[in-house]
């Protein structure tokens, strides 16, 4: 089980900073930082800049994403913002609007 889970009915307005993996099913507005990675599940809404390890996005993200590892935008994901990571995958069916920066 992940260290931190923001459940579907929960809204956080502010900063979330974690040394663990963070799974978001609910809503976060503000800032999200997680060393061990972030999973934004389908139905989740993140209106925040996201920093951290490997990221999987299946929900909605409005904000910039910066990952030290990889970012996977899964089918059904909706991302508005810039993505900076060493590896990025965008699945068929993912909506994405923003710049990609891959340290080329």
């Amino acid at each position: 089980m992940a260290g931190t889970v923001i459940g579907a009915g929960i809204t956080i307005e502010g900063e979330v900073i974690s040394d663990e993996e963070v799974v978001v099913q609910g809503t976060i507005r503000g800032k999200l930082q997680a060393k061990e990675g972030v999973t934004v599940e389908a139905g989740a809404v993140v209106e925040a800049d996201i920093h951290g390890g490997p990221m999987v996005v299946a929900g909605s993200v409005t904000g910039n994403i910066v990952s030290s590892d990889r970012v996977d935008l899964q089918s059904g994901a909706r991302v508005v913002g810039n993505v900076k990571a060493s590896r990025i995958t965008i699945a068929d069916g993912a909506q994405f609007k923003g710049n990609v920066d891959m340290d080329v």
Binding site: G3, I6, G9, I10, G14, V16, E41
Partner: protein
């Protein structure tokens, strides 16, 4: 993905810090740190590693960690062993287990009523959560005796030598009392006789 067992539960892990407001209709389990208001319509539990430094409103609240802020529950508040709470507690049902530390106003029954202003002041002046019990005990015990001693010792010396040097000499032999009595007429003569 990571959690197929408890989908309706929100968990803030030990390594997680939240600065801001948390609202929602779910159970909330806090192992990490929260600086910001929490309001949930489910159960909020602050586990032994968890710290919350603001008020919590929920259906029910269970505390095993540290809270600095008011706890208000529609149903119940449980302070378990290891809980450290500085703040007011209001709920229809409140349980404080042995080993729980609490500093604040407690009210069972309706959660709406206000607390007395005096109690609020006391809590506002209270120090950090962990040190609260020690710091509270000291000033109460230590201050009163000191205050009593000082005024008793201070006043005598100045008036005695300056105003009535004669009496001081006599008083020094008879009694060391620092209080200078007003002598009646003729008393001076009586003293002279005795010495005489």
């Amino acid at each position: 993905m990571a959690n197929d067992t408890n989908d309706t539960r929100t968990v803030l892990g030990r390594g997680t810090r939240v600065r801001g407001r948390i609202t929602g209709g779910q159970d909330l389990e806090i192992h990490g740190h929260v600086e910001g208001e929490i309001s949930a319509s489910g159960e909020v539990s602050i586990e032994s590693t968890g710290t919350v430094s603001s008020s919590i409103a929920a259906h029910s609240i269970v505390v095993r960690g540290a809270v600095r802020g008011d706890l208000t529950a529609e149903d119940s508040v449980h302070l378990e062993d290891g809980a450290r709470v500085v703040g007011d507690v209001r709920a229809p049902r409140i349980a404080i287990a042995q080993g729980a530390l609490l500093k604040g106003y407690v009210q069972t029954g309706e959660a709406s009523a206000q607390r007395p202003a005096a109690a609020r002041k006391a809590v506002a002046a209270a120090p950090a959560v962990r040190t609260a019990p020690v710091a509270v005990a000291r000033p109460v015990v230590a201050t009163p005796p000191r205050k009593v001693e000082k005024p008793a010792a201070a006043p005598p010396p100045p008036p005695a030598p300056v105003k009535r040097p004669v009496v001081t000499l006599a008083g020094a032999k008879a009694a060391p009392s620092p209080v200078v009595p007003a002598l009646k007429k003729g008393a001076k003569g009586a003293l002279a006789k005795k010495r005489g």
